[in-house]
Symmetry: C2
Subunit: 226 residues, 2 copies
């Protein structure tokens, strides 16, 4: 028992071993020396193995570089997450997965929700389904306009709505980086109905065409669902 222990320590595989280390690939297996062609000759290794030894050394170093590359990236990840340098590789990766899913979800929520202006000009006029005002014949629908921002866009929009006798129930206006998106929930007058929607649609279209006279952009829509 203590014998084997001593043996363990004496033979412990330090890097500065006095044995030429590339030889170990063969030596490792030489316990089956009953079959070995070179039993018990650790210091007189089989001749002409220089190539193999060199290859082995290259392999060893390449593997070390690979490990270093991976660990370097893992350390970068450590700095990008709320975790100290002593967190486990596995736990670190778990946190990374977690965080990535989280950010992905948030980003999709943000971009998919139409609060932000997109890069493309868009018009949509959508019926909200039923009318929300107790069956008195008023139509409620949502109009969305996304385009380059300009100072008198809102007044123009207000003018259009007024001329069509539409009342604005709700407005979401976002401008970002020179682009704007306006989402309006509007209601028709009691006596005027579906044609208002077409008028609004046309008006928005001309508004957008007027807007984008200088800079051409792809126009998505108009979209119309009743």
């Amino acid at each position: 028992m203590e014998n084997s222990d001593d043996l363990f320590h004496f033979l412990s595989n330090t890097n500065d071993s006095f044995f030429p280390e590339p030889a170990s690939s063969i030596m490792q297996q030489s316990f089956s020396s009953s079959f070995s062609y070179y039993p018990l000759q650790p210091f007189n290794a089989p001749p002409h193995q220089d190539k193999a030894l060199a290859a082995l050394r290259n392999h060893k170093e390449a593997e070390k570089r690979r490990r270093e590359r991976i660990n370097a990236h893992l350390n970068k990840l450590r700095t990008l997450l709320p975790c100290n340098s002593k967190t486990d590789k596995a736990s670190l990766l778990a946190k990374v997965v977690e965080r990535l899913k989280e950010l992905k979800q948030q980003m999709s929520e943000i971009t998919q929700s139409e609060t932000f202006p997109s890069e493309n000009d868009e018009i949509s006029v959508l019926s909200t389904g039923g009318d929300g005002s107790g069956g008195d014949g008023r139509l409620i629908f949502k109009a969305s306009l996304c385009c380059e921002d300009r100072s008198d866009l809102i007044p123009d929009l207000v003018g259009i709505l007024k001329s069509l006798h539409l009342t604005t129930l709700r407005a979401e206006i976002a401008t970002l980086g020179g682009r704007t998106r306006n989402v309006l929930v509007v209601a028709t007058d009691k006596d005027r109905s579906v044609e208002s929607i077409h008028f609004l649609q046309n008006s928005l279209h001309t508004l957008l065409q007027h807007n984008g006279a200088s800079k051409r952009r792809r126009v998505v829509g108009p979209n119309f669902i009743v």
Copy 2:
């Protein structure tokens, strides 16, 4: 040369080796059998090493589990990124770092830009530094109001601005989840100056107090920098 090659293959370390595998830890080093206490006895291993053998087996299995855990997370990452299952571990991690930085940047841009309404009521009135209208004495500043949304908030705001003879140069309005944030860039009249800012500030404050009569919220600010 060809001898050693044969030796390599014959002794190749397969899992189903007919040697009891835990013994290899000692056997690996036994090439220095000139020092070994048990030279050349691979089939009659030193007695009473059962504990050591069991420990070694446990160790081996634990290490395998650890590797599997890490690789499982790496595979999860592969599914979360635009990359197939044949991408390198290192490259995969590089992509992860890249993507994480990217998302982090985007999120900070979005959240730090005050386009989204926050959970807390806020008022801020900030001078933009110089005046942007050619030194004609008009002051330009940015007023921000974040509070619960209500239908006549904008009209109230417009009324305040009109009564203070402030003209709106730019407006960013965002509503989200029942909360709204309005950022207004306004300019004073030529003859009226700093006191307009205080009036606006007070007006916004009363507006917000009136707004939040039912639901109490923390009020951040008002903030005033000239």
